[in-house]
Amino acid sequence: MRHILSIVVINNAGVLGRVVGLFSRRGYNIDSLSVGTSEDQRYARITVSVQGDDQVVAQIQKQVAKLVDVQDVFELKPECAIFRELCLVKVEATAAARPDIFNVASVFRANIIDVSTKTITMELNGDLDKTNAFIELMKPYGILEIVRTGLAAIARGAEKAKI
């Protein structure tokens, strides 16, 4: 089962290493990871997507919470949160394929951000399902490169992390 954890950390040097190191040495698999400053300069938000049953995820949260630089850690459940990821996709684009690619891109609201004689590069903003579906549809044209930022996640409504 995939779980999305949101971790609020003090913006100290090396803090990402502490969090990631903990995941790897305790054998927790990270599917994706994104980091950035929060609304308060002193803190950063790390969003981690991990695989594991409920017990494993509870254990991860407790271990993460013990890190001195960690302020808060909580799970964001799909029904109460919004997940987004930026995905950059470069595909082969022969003249014949171009219109089709443009069509799919517009259905997915992907932006064309670069065009060359042989390629098109698009940016897509979405949750995991949307991104995966888009990639599937692009495969037949010949995907040259995919770059994904990892999920960012935020709670719906007035709910907010303790900072």
Binding site: G14, G17, R18, G21, L22, R25, Q55, A58, Q59, K62, Q63, A65, K66, L67, V68, D69
Partner: protein, 562 residues
């Protein structure tokens, strides 16, 4: 507040003094010369003990901490000095021992350039410290040191490392002293509801078993534990780390549980209907196989570290918080329990599996030596052990009545821990004899710290249980690897331990028969000086009971199959 302009090294020492530190163990080098210079200046206020090896300094700081409950401090230079501390830091981490390790490093502008004797010690020790710091601004040094001590001793204690580049040691800034923060022990999650629920479960239990670990000692909860056990009328078993937390002489004491646990404790674990784990972490050396551990019992887990709950064993009930606090709030809620039947069962098992007193004649046995040490010195000494068969014999045979009188490397199982730790315990407890029970393999690893014991004239007695083999590994080869004794014989190493010890300036003698044992022990105790007793035993003595790997704790074996 009077402000002083001091350099980083002096600020470090001022902060140590502020934290009540008067003792540190260390070894100098190029990147800590300013700190040593400050130690020179402050030598009336802080005692520095020079060990033979940084590993010895780290174990000494650990032994100091375990025997007092205070934070132990060690100091080493950059690079190899820092890496030599690693084993000691990991040992302290696994056994939740409060320690602050201080290392020097190359100047800030030289960091990251593979400079001479540069290592990323904060990176290296990240997984084996509660937290660590590298200080890159002298203005942050004092607060960092204060935070390090606070972290080391608060909640579940553990080691913290501070890496101080040498230019930070020489840079100056204003310093004003502060009163240190009192250690905090998490107790916000101890709710009346949790306590009442626990009380109800305890009242419903017919066959309760209490299992305790190092947390009882760390939180100084022995008195509360004794009261708790008396109300329940329940037997108490301990992990290796829990030894001393509950008096061995108490009629409810049933000894160590686990792989080399007593037959009584391990049988009770399989028969109990309610297991109360207190300040213990269900290590695999205790549990062996989670499916065969207390499988008929509900489990209540009381521990300060929330991450220990449901980590190795899933428990239905738990209270997270300082165990002293939990027990002191829980005890008044409990009604005296009458478990006559269960108590009878405990007596029956104790009669069935008595702790056999070894022979005073015939061939000398390791367990006999340890039983005599217990009889002659347990009322006055602090015991330390190394790691191997001798350690398990010590766990099974020493009568330890008080916390902090038994020190062993439980979680990491560090060979060579004992002598350094004994030096630290002896420094911390002037006038108290400290007896390290060592194996010959362990003694060979770190015997160099005898030089330290001699230099500072410490009453450390090193009792080498010399079987001329790496006995514990050999036992596994004997039982589970078809007696293929690969690399476990030490017979080829002909070191004369008595001569070696004498070369270090210690008194030393050989003991080869049981008749000589008492005299040797009494003589060593009377000397009040570093002393080595080399006890020559056979190579085939095994540690029993033993639960083979993967078996349930009830499936212990008591002797070798013929």
């Amino acid at each position: 507040m009077n402000k002083l302009q001091l350099n980083g090294a002096e600020i470090l020492i001022e902060c140590l003094l502020e934290q009540g530190v008067d003792t540190i163990f260390g070894f100098p080098g190029g990147r800590v010369i300013p700190i040593y210079d400050a130690l020179y200046k402050y030598k009336d206020k802080i005692n520095h003990y020079l060990t033979s090896h940084e590993q010895g300094a780290s174990h000494a700081a650990d032994g100091y901490a375990r025997s007092t409950g205070k934070v132990g401090v060690c100091l080493a230079t950059s690079g190899p000095g820092a890496t030599n501390l690693v084993t000691g830091i990991a040992t302290a981490y696994m056994d939740s021992s409060p320690m602050v390790a201080i290392t020097g490093n190359v100047p800030v502008p030289m960091l990251g350039k593979d400079s001479f004797q540069e290592v990323d010690i904060t990176g290296i020790t990240m997984p084996i410290t509660k937290h660590n710091f590298i200080v890159k601004d002298v203005n942050e040094l004092a607060e960092t040191v204060r935070q390090a001590f606070h972290i080391a001793r608060s909640d579940r204690p553990g080691p913290v490392l501070i890496d101080i580049p040498s230019d930070i040691q020489t840079a100056s800034c204003n310093f004003s002293a502060k009163t240190p923060l009192a250690a905090v022990r998490e107790s916000t999650r101890i709710t009346p509801q949790k306590l009442n629920e626990a009380a109800e479960l305890i009242h419903a239990a017919k066959r309760p078993l209490i299992y305790t670990g190092g947390g009882v000692i760390a939180s100084e909860a022995s008195a509360e534990l004794c009261e708790f056990a008396a109300i329940l009328g329940a037997p108490v078993c301990v992990s290796a780390m829990g030894i001393g937390g509950f008096p061995s002489s108490n009629e409810m004491h049933v000894g160590m549980i686990g792989m080399h646990g007593t037959a009584v404790a391990n049988t009770l674990a399989t028969e109990c209907d309610f297991l109360i784990a207190i300040g213990a972490r269900f290590s695999d050396r205790v549990v062996n196989n989670a499916n065969g551990f207390a499988s008929g019992a509900k489990v209540l887990h009381i521990d300060i570290d929330a991450a220990e709950i449901d980590k190795n064993i899933c428990t239905a009930y738990s209270i997270v918080g300082d165990v002293k606090k939990v027990l002191s709030l829980l005890n008044p809620l409990l009604k005296k329990q009458d478990c006559t039947e269960w108590k009878n069962r405990v007596s029956e098992l104790k009669a069935k599996y008595p702790n056999v007193q070894r022979e005073a004649s015939g061939a000398l046995e390791g367990q006999y030596v340890i039983q005599r040490l217990s009889a002659l010195a347990a009322d006055k000494a602090i015991f330390v052990t190394d790691v191997g068969q001798h350690q398990m014999w010590a766990c099974l045979n020493l009568q330890i009545e008080e916390p902090r009188k038994f020190i062993t490397s439980g979680g990491l199982g560090t060979m060579g821990f004992g002598l350094g730790a004994a030096v630290g315990a002896a420094v911390a407890n002037p006038g108290v004899p400290v007896i390290n029970i060592a194996g010959d393999g362990c003694f060979r690893m770190n015997s160099i710290e005898l030089a330290t014991a001699v230099e500072y004239d410490l009453p450390v007695i090193e009792v080498v249980i010399n079987n001329h083999v790496l006995g514990m590994v050999r036992q596994w080869q004997k039982l589970f690897f078809g007696k293929r004794y690969s690399a476990t014989s030490l017979h080829g190493k002909v070191t004369d331990f008595v001569k070696l010890s004498e070369a270090y300036g210690a008194v030393a003698f050989n003991v080869t028969t049981p008749e000589e044992v008492d005299d040797a022990i009494l003589k060593a105790l009377a000397l009040k000086k570093p002393c080595v007793i080399n006890c020559e035993i056979g190579q085939d003595e095994s540690v029993f009971p033993m639960v083979p790997l993967g078996k349930g704790v009830g499936q212990f074996i008591l002797k070798e199959a013929e």
